[in-house]
Symmetry: C2
């Protein structure tokens, strides 16, 4: 770590609007930061020496999927990807890149939605996939320690076998990596029950831009010795350091899980059902998700093997309510009492309870499949907003109205229990005309309600210039100072998260 | 906020041992940092102008309780305390102090155990007691927004009336302030159930050393827009900024609460009972506390109105197990099944379940009274450690053995469910001879097990030089850089938390 702080002047270039346009031209940064070096033969040679030939990727075909995101929305031009297999190798790579001023993009499962793991120009891609070892699991406390490249679903299988569960779950679980989950502060389906990663991550090992290894990989539930620096790596999207390992507190796996699927007549009623669920289901309520008719239709149309649980019911809104508890009989009683009340009080038009794990998977398949179905349907503009629940769906309706004359489908779904809306505009091709109807309208609408323009997806390259819709200037200034303290040369995931900063030596 | 970063060299003065000696001579810093200014008439005049005469305290008698902690262990020599009533006033005071290089100690309820809110020399005391307004409470989501000086117990009463509970509870609740709780990342009795404040604090408003107001007082459950800076203020003990307001997520109040009191033959068995409690009580387990016979005896001897719930049973260990749930009948069944098993399997020698709220208060009165009883008993050396549960009580026994020839009483109790031991050495007077038998032994013993030398009390002035027993050097270095970024003149709570740093202009 360089002990002396560099004297830098922070100057923000603020774009007046946050228009994101098509493909790679859509990004916050219009031009490459020329203070970064360009790759030379000596660099490739150094990396081959440190990592071995097979972990230095220069082949254009092999680079192509690493240069693009899964939605086909962002594309970079990196000529080099590196696959270190140890923290020590990450440290050597970063120290070298820092000295050489080579910009770096850390990439985990590349399942993000805001272009956070995609280079904009010729940044070197640092893959975490080679860091894929489970280090330890304590089956009494439920503490898991593992490297960053472990895949979420694999980890969940491993801890499940010992009676625990991962504290987060999301649709991308089959490919996303835990290091990416932590770096982006992934939310997902279990947040309502187990809280955010800021609570369940116990420790982090990260490598700073200059190669310093920050060993904060503690496994203690409580530790008040100094600043909780690990928190800064949670959700900073690889701009402050590369997360190489994490320790997490896994909650005990519930022996009893129930899922029900409910049809609700209007959005106001979804909230009434939520209040009732909190009262009747109490501590066993583990998920409360909603989606609209448009989302259901898209999913039934575009995904194979999805069955409509209520084929005879057409209604604007559907809910997936999950309970997880330790006593089958008690949980059943609570669920029955909840369902009887919401049916009797006519909050719910129709509903079904999954009878076995296949049916549970079937119901979750609809909710988790929406994002994939949208991808199958064509290009999609995705927004991820925290909004007071009562007003949440107004935004979907207003957006729909604004775009009634355009060939788009506007879809709303999300984590109702957390106040988190996913607003998606599905279209035939990415088109600035469409975009102008969405932005900055969506951001301004959200800002006016003191909401967040990114509840769980992060800012990435999509929204780096838009942070001020949610955070006031002094807070952004302080973030820029923190960035400058951790990464004075700005080599880590440049052009992302924060507004473009020009570092000018005085 | 000063935009340009100061060029500073960080130099650590490390004391070889962490001996804490008697009263104010006991502190980490042996001498005043002479880069701080001393108070002049013009300063007092400025403060009177900003705050009004009655909020500028210069009277020696009035200052005396603010210069001392409640244990009578730490004492400072401040000649001035200020009581701002708004964030704006705090901002004006800090901006002035920063320009004048006047050092500041923020002080909430002054209930801390490590001298964190007590000046060492002539620092100005900044009282948060005047910031005592509840700003809002959302009775649907349970989101509380309030100023830093609100007293924890008052807040709990207010949110209780609307069906919620504060996410933390501790013995000092009648005097401690929420701003202090957040600034010290207070743990307490409900952490097992509701997690740490890093999870339940949704937003913070803080004032930086230069007077910049950091408005991160969001009320959103999810917000991934940039770095989660509020996390840095949680647990940094007022060294990075003065917390002026917080927003917190309050969980729904449980309609059914049960408390039982169990006598257990040995420490190994307490862990078996804990495993059984997690299995049988599952999601309704809300506290699992232990204390030893010595702690019980002290409490019965020194506190009035405390009744021994099991007067005919003498055993080395006692447990307080609490459940909180939403269904009285279900909770009762779970508790009965747990108790039957631990009795049948002879893990528990005897036990009692509180039959009403008075009995619940009676049992909690013992556990929460231990700290007060120790104070009544005389001077006490207090340690607060995170240790793997299996080895936790070994430390108490080894300490007892080391000091068998000295006139002391060694007492162990704490949050068994969180791996958090409170080790207390009660004596007749503070005495370096006694201290030499405890330190650095306790810290080294804990460090050897990768534990934490401060689970929940913080470092304050008591353990500022001891941080390296838990945190490696690169992590401490990074903390020093963060401190320097937030508070370049080092005026905020100097001599605390981090090893002494000399800021040398180059």
């Amino acid at each position: 770590m360089q002990a002396a702080l560099k004297m830098l002047r922070l100057r923000s270039r603020i774009t007046p609007l946050c228009l994101q346009s098509v493909r790679s031209a859509s990004t916050a940064a219009a031009s490459r930061n020329e203070s970064f070096a360009t790759l030379e033969d000596k660099d490739r040679n150094f990396f081959r020496e440190v990592l071995g030939d097979s972990n230095v990727i220069t082949d254009t075909d092999a680079l192509q999927p690493l240069n693009e995101d899964w939605m086909g929305k962002y594309a970079g031009k990196s000529k080099l990807a590196l696959r270190p297999k140890s923290t020590e190798q990450v440290s050597k790579v970063l120290a070298y890149c820092n000295d050489r001023r080579l910009a770096i993009v850390p990439q985990g499962g590349n399942t993000g939605l805001v272009g956070g793991s995609i280079p904009l120009f010729d940044e070197v891609i640092l893959l975490t996939a080679g860091l894929n070892q489970v280090i330890s699991f304590d089956a009494v406390s439920g503490t898991l320690v593992c490297q960053a490249g472990c895949i979420l679903e694999h980890l969940d299988s491993q801890v499940s076998a010992q009676g625990f569960t991962m504290p987060l779950d999301l649709g991308a679980k089959g490919s996303c990596q835990i290091g990416g989950n932590v770096s982006t502060n992934a939310g997902g389906l279990r947040l309502l029950r187990y809280g955010s990663l800021h609570g369940s991550v116990l420790g982090i090992e990260a490598v700073l831009a200059d190669g310093t290894v920050v060993d904060a990989l503690q496994t203690l539930r409580k530790d008040n010795t100094g600043y909780d620096l690990k928190q800064l790596f949670i959700g900073s999207e690889g701009t402050l350091g590369v997360v190489t390992a994490v320790s997490l507190l896994c909650p005990p796996r519930s022996s009893s899980v129930h899922v029900c699927y409910l049809a609700v007549p209007d959005f106001a009623t979804t909230q009434k059902v939520f209040v009732k669920a909190r009262q009747r289901l109490g501590e066993i309520l583990s998920a409360f998700e909603f989606f609209d008719q448009q989302a259901l239709d898209l999913t039934l149309k575009h995904l194979e093997g999805i069955r409509n649980p209520l084929p005879d019911t057409q209604t604007p809104f559907y809910l997936v309510v999950e309970t997880s508890g330790s006593n089958e009989e008690h949980d059943n009683e609570k669920l029955q009492s909840f369902l009887e009340e919401v049916m009797e009080e006519e909050m719910v038009l129709d509903g079904t309870i999954a009878q076995d794990s296949a049916q549970i998977a079937g119901i979750w398949g609809i909710r988790e499949g929406i994002s994939v179905a949208l991808k199958h349907a064509g290009p999609v503009y995705k927004y991820d907003l925290s909004i007071p629940v009562a007003e949440m769906y107004d935004l979907v309706e207003e957006t729909r109205q604004r775009m009634a004359h355009l060939p788009v489908e506007v879809v709303g779904y999300g984590h109702l229990g957390d106040g988190n809306l996913h607003l998606n505009v599905s279209c035939q091709k990415y088109d600035d005309e469409i975009l102008r109807h969405i932005e900055p309208f969506v951001y301004e609408w959200t800002a006016a309600r003191r909401g967040s323009i990114s509840a769980e997806h992060g800012l990435g390259q999509m929204k780096a210039e838009c942070i001020r819709y949610t955070k006031p200037q002094p807070v952004v200034d302080l973030m820029l100072q923190v960035k400058n303290t951790f990464d004075p040369n700005g080599i880590l995931n440049p052009y992302k998260v924060l507004p473009q900063v020009m570092a000018v030596a005085q």
